[in-house]
């Protein structure tokens, strides 16, 4: 479609996130940025990836990105669709999910996520939608990937509410709570790729996206950023990746705005 070599930071984020997924992953997909990344992976290097949305759709392959986790196309293209209790009991709690892919309203350096409230829980400044499936996705998936655009309001020293537990206060905090899954192992933002320090579990920048400086990463992050000694540069999006993402987003936009037009079955 496009022969424009330029790309936006958000496109770089989605594409970098998509690259982290493997063909044999079983991925529990959060809505928004994670959903775009997971479907780009499926449409490029990971055609057999199993995408699961919490509405019970297992092995889904939508042509457009769903607006909600329960859009009809998820069910129509799924290998099977199960009831919500089965989704959470057998498939998530049962340990079948390799990657839980989450977004965040607020994130701290240990990968703890807040999507519940800004301010005090009982007297909130802003009441956000809440956790939905995330509290158990965060602890029952074998690993957690997080993706979000960087802002100082979003990436904060201290989150207002622990919706989904990451590494808590760092170190072996998960283990101390009896959580035996790995937790957040990857953070992909619009500027960089981050991985937790093996000992402290603090997210550390391991790769800067093309053209991004350390200062930019620090200016859009509310905590003092740690950088790996050997800092990589994220490969720029390939033509195929960019075209796949843009086509997907164009189809999605057309489908949602003209939602009167049901697709031919």
């Amino acid at each position: 479609m496009s022969d424009n070599p330029d790309f936006t930071p958000n496109e770089m984020m989605t594409i970098a996130a998509s690259r982290a997924l493997r063909n044999d992953d079983v991925c529990f997909v959060g809505i928004g940025a994670p959903s775009a990344a997971c479907n780009v992976a499926r449409l490029t290097h990971a055609p057999d990836i199993t995408l699961i949305y919490e509405s019970g759709t297992i092995g889904t392959a939508p042509d457009v990105l769903p607006l909600s986790i329960g859009d009809g196309e998820l069910c129509e293209t799924a290998v099977t669709t199960v009831a919500v209790p089965e989704m959470f009991r057998y498939w998530l709690q049962g340990g079948r999910i390799s990657i839980g892919f989450l977004g965040a309203a607020q994130l701290d350096k240990f990968g703890n996520i807040n999507t519940t409230v800004i301010g005090d829980y009982f007297h909130p400044k802003t009441r956000l939608p809440g956790g939905g499936g995330a509290p158990e996705i965060a602890t029952s998936s074998k690993e957690i990937y997080i993706t979000m655009a960087q802002t100082r309001r979003g990436m904060v020293e201290k989150i207002d509410f622990f919706t989904s537990f990451g590494h808590g206060e760092g170190g072996d905090h998960r283990k101390r709570l009896g959580i035996d899954t790995a937790g957040p192992t990857l953070l992909i933002t619009d500027l960089a790729i981050w991985k937790p320090d093996p000992a402290t579990k603090e997210f550390t920048v391991v790769s800067l996206h093309p053209g991004v400086t350390r200062q930019q990463v620090q200016e859009t992050c509310g905590w003092i950023v740690k950088f790996a000694e050997a800092l990589d540069e994220t490969p720029a999006p390939s033509e195929l990746e960019l075209t796949t993402l843009r086509d997907l987003q164009a189809r999605t936009k057309a489908a949602h705005e003209g939602s009167g037009k049901a697709k031919a079955a």
Binding site: D71, V84, R127, L128, P135, E136, T139, R174, L177, G178
Partner: protein, 285 residues
């Protein structure tokens, strides 16, 4: 035994002020027509239960009908926040409401326990989650066999559950297919259940034997309301009106705009108006 009733009568016979009520549907098959009928009849002091209270609970909360909500995701799926619910929680407008918040896993397990006749649900959940500290109904039990500490929540037993389904047969058995969500559990957990359906067919003889069918003796009343799920969707009948979900964000953002919309689109309308709302969303045959 199930009765086929006009929606107005089905709601009047089965819902009462002060009831705990679940209008369930997980994005798909949301019982909008039943909720709008409840709004027209002006019930008060309801405890509204739902995993994903979306537009219909935003509307009921905005109309001052809810005393309490029990939920796990109080958002407009894919769009953002529920602005009437926020106004109630943040500002006590039009009245303050009590909230009991869970995760999806917590709610799903609690409904299943309700359907199973158990007093509580036990599952591996809420580990490290802040909800356990602010919701006194999230407790823990220790497995007597392994010593593992597990989460426990009370089962959900609504006074009445409303769902929307694709079809009933003439005897009143009900078929739900597609994203089946939590509806079967919500019906079996409740004391009474009311189902709106797209259509009634002679029989279910040609159905696959493992489809989700609720036998007629699990349901109090059925009302035929084509389009009754709009702006949600009915798999096989019409698509989700995503544009309406996007528009709601703007309508609900303003107290007066919300009231005007409710007057024009709910108070002055009836269940018969739903069919026309989904005409443009029906799939090409």
């Amino acid at each position: 035994m199930v009765k086929f009733l006009p929606l107005k009568q089905a709601v009047a016979e089965n819902l009462h002020n002060g009831d705990s009520v679940a209008f369930e549907g997980f994005t798909h098959l949301i019982p909008t027509a039943a909720a709008h009928e409840a709004i027209r009849q002006g019930f008060r002091d309801l405890t509204l239960i739902r995993m994903t209270p979306d537009l219909i609970y935003d509307q009921m909360i905005g109309m001052g009908m809810a005393r309490k909500i029990i939920f796990s995701y109080v958002g407009n799926p894919g769009v953002g926040l529920l602005r009437r619910a926020r106004d109630a929680i943040e500002n006590g407008f039009p009245r303050s409401i009590e909230i009991e918040e869970h995760s999806h896993a917590g709610m799903a397990n609690a409904y299943e326990a309700g359907a199973a006749g158990l007093p509580c649900a036990v599952f591996r959940g809420y580990r490290g989650a802040g909800l356990a500290a602010v919701n006194p109904n999230i407790k823990s039990v220790t497995c007597p066999f392994t010593g593992e500490v597990l989460a426990a929540v009370p089962s959900i037993r609504p006074d009445v559950t409303f769902i929307h389904a694709q079809k009933a047969d003439r005897k009143g058995n009900v078929l739900v297919e597609g994203i089946v969500g939590i509806q079967k559990e919500a019906v079996l957990a409740a004391r009474r259940a009311v189902v709106t359906v797209e259509e009634v067919v002679d029989n279910f003889d040609d159905l696959h034997p493992n489809l989700t069918v609720l036998p007629r003796w699990t349901i109090a009343a059925i009302s035929v309301v084509p389009g009754g799920s709009h702006p949600s969707y009915a798999h096989g009948y019409y698509a989700r009106d995503n544009a309406a979900y996007l528009e709601w964000d703007e309508i609900a953002a303003d107290r007066e705009k919300f009231q005007a919309w409710m007057q024009a689109n709910v108070i002055e309308k009836s269940a018969d108006d739903f069919a026309a709302r989904v005409e443009h969303l029906r799939k090409a045959a």
